[in-house]
Amino acid sequence: MFWTYAALLLLVFVTANVYGRFRAMQVAGRQLSALHSRPSYHGGYLAILAALPAFVLLIAWAVVEPRLLDTMVISAKAEIVEGLSKAELQAFLRDARAIAFGGIVAFSDAGKEQAAEVFSSLAQTSFFLKTTLIIALVAGGLWYGNRTITPAMRARHFVERTVMGLLILCSAVAIFTTIGIVLSLIFESLMFFRQIPILDFVFGTHWSPQSAFEGAGAEHGEANTEIFGAIPLLVGTMLITAIAIFVAAPVGLLSAIYLSDYASTPVRAIAKPVLEILAGIPTVVYGFFAALTVAPFIRGWGESIGLSVSSESALAAGLVMGIMIIPFVSSLSDDVINAVPQSLRDGSAGLGATKSETIRRVVLPAALPGIVSALILAISRAIGETMIVVMAAGLAANITVNPLEAVTTVTVQIVTLLVGDQEFDSAKTLAAFALGLLLFCITLALNIFALRVVKKYREQYD
């Protein structure tokens, strides 16, 4: 039903557009230049007036209608639904709807039949009301628009402003989604912190929430506050991130220097896209590369020189993650190194400096803030990375800085906490939200820091 109306409105939009254009030319007569706006803007003006209000109504109706119908049915049949629990009420309404509009009915009874009758009569009224309103809006828009198309009419301004409104709406969607996600993280985390003191969580050194309610659910009683210490996860995350940066920073930076200052144009044209392909490899592929190829290799290598290496090691995950973030470092560093003005390189060369002296003493110091921010962005990417560590780093929440042992990270624990059947009000599940919030705060702080460094860098040459 919704899509039929949407298609009809699209048709109205196109037709009104064509007609508005025609009408504007008719009004202008032979002198097209007498029009304030080009005829196509008049077309857009009429089309927007005719179709947009009706379309907004259509969407609003689709959002509000089901809930409104439910409320009206409940109030009409109050004597039947009285005393039903929330879940029973939902089942009742679901069945009544199925009877009225077709669908799979669990089991029917007289009460549901009656409710279904109310449903269908209400739906019919709603349908007529909706259709009448839409037709009225379209007709009103067409009539008003048609009447106001005159040579002096500022159709261009109207269309431009509507387009701007659309752009604002789209960016607002992104912003409000972000705010919504953050708020949900915060509220769920607050519920968690009601059970587990925040200090026990942030500074606790023991992490084993899987053993929190062995054989029992939330009704088991108080959660054990001792087993939600996030420190082992943070240590694991830091260890793996450090290994990754240790790999990615030199490799990425040096390849950026090669690409920007040494590579000939054909080499650069091929090498840069190839490097960026690394960024396009799905992380799950990196994950099994780490788990099935790198980890056994490191284990074998370690044993051959007499070291005990666990089969899931921080080193394997860190190395592969480092390879994954090389393109972030190299691509961003390449950009900032290229942004260093050629005049500085010339100035240095003109004093008799060699290429490597120029790069070490002039280009890199000038690009340093940008490089730092590239590294920080890569770090925050590494901290948030999940798939590789899930597959290759293990689950043991050890506090260790030995890269040959298994560690676990914040993201891995979020995954394991939320995989499988969950009660959404147990401390164990809510811990995932608290971890998410912690992760978000860390990466947000890093990103803000990086952006500040970049901003400072931009002011450097002027």
């Binding site: 500085l344 004093l351 008799g352 002296e357």
Partner: protein
């Protein structure tokens, strides 16, 4: 183009430097000599065989309309064209008696002898002190810290900037005014004790007062250095230079004493250009 430093560079230079300097008909020492210099950017020829001498301790001005090849010629003198991939240079350019395009010549050493100041002031994003100390550091010219400080101070003094910046040598060079930045770049070039200083429109980004200071400076620097300047301002060429060369469409049209070029040009094109009929 091969830029490798060869082991016999130094000995080659020493033997060549011991030869007597070239002398002009008027008895002046010729510091640099260009013979049949041709420059190509890809398939486009920018210079069509230029013969031009630069006399020691004089200011030589290169003038001409945009795209005439004067900057290209200037950049051949210390091989700054090497940084452009598609650029090819033919012919001979001699510094004293050394061919600067000889594969045995180390371009790093060449540029230490033939310094350059650019059109737009390009101080490094470092402190004023570090800007001037840059050249001496990379060439290892200073024996210790106090020696380096002396070099920096004397270079700034000779560039006429010392009094203005002596209390803030630690501040970034980019924070100076345009004219001060350009004098800082000149100080930076002087600090490596070059024999020749090339200036590519050094005043085109400066206001008249800063321009006057730089011009005054050029006249003083002439005592110790040989200067080649590219300029769009004919008044500037007339004010600062002893000799002037007029370029047009990649050819050297006329070269001579500045006074002669501006008062009594031999070529019709020079006449047209200096009287503002074209260009």
């Amino acid at each position: 183009m091969a830029l490798e430093m060869t082991t016999d560079t130094e000995s080659a230079m020493n033997t060549m430097m011991s030869a007597p300097p070239a002398i002009s008909a008027e008895g002046e020492t010729l510091k640099m000599r260009g013979r049949d210099v041709k420059v190509f950017y890809g398939n486009k020829q920018a210079l069509h065989g230029v013969d031009l001498d630069v006399r020691k301790n004089q200011v030589t001005a290169l003038i001409g309309p945009s795209g005439c090849g004067k900057s290209t010629f200037l950049r051949c003198l210390n091989r700054m064209n090497d940084t452009i991939d598609i650029c090819r240079v033919q012919g001979d350019i001699l510094l004293d008696n050394d061919d600067v395009y000889d594969p045995r010549i180390d371009v790093v050493e060449l540029r230490a002898r033939v310094g350059m100041v650019f059109q737009k002031p390009n101080p490094f994003p470092k402190s004023i002190f570090e800007n001037v100390a840059y050249g001496p550091r990379i060439h290892g010219l200073a024996q210790g810290k106090s020696d380096l400080e002396d070099i920096v101070a004397s270079s700034l003094q000779r560039a006429g900037l010392f009094e203005e910046v002596k209390d803030r040598l630690d501040e970034p060079g980019t924070g100076l005014s345009g004219g001060q930045q350009q004098r800082l770049c000149i100080a930076r070039a002087i600090a490596v004790s070059p024999e020749v200083i090339l200036m590519d429109e050094p005043c085109s980004a400066l206001d008249p007062i800063a321009t006057a200071k730089v011009e005054e400076l050029m006249d003083e620097l002439r005592q110790n250095y040989t200067i080649v300047i590219v300029t769009h301002s004919m008044q500037q060429a007339a004010r600062v230079s002893q000799r002037t060369a007029f370029f047009h469409l990649g050819n050297l049209v006329e070269e001579g004493l500045t006074n002669d070029i501006f008062t009594n040009p031999k070529d019709q094109r020079t006449q047209d250009y200096i009287t503002g009929r074209f260009g």
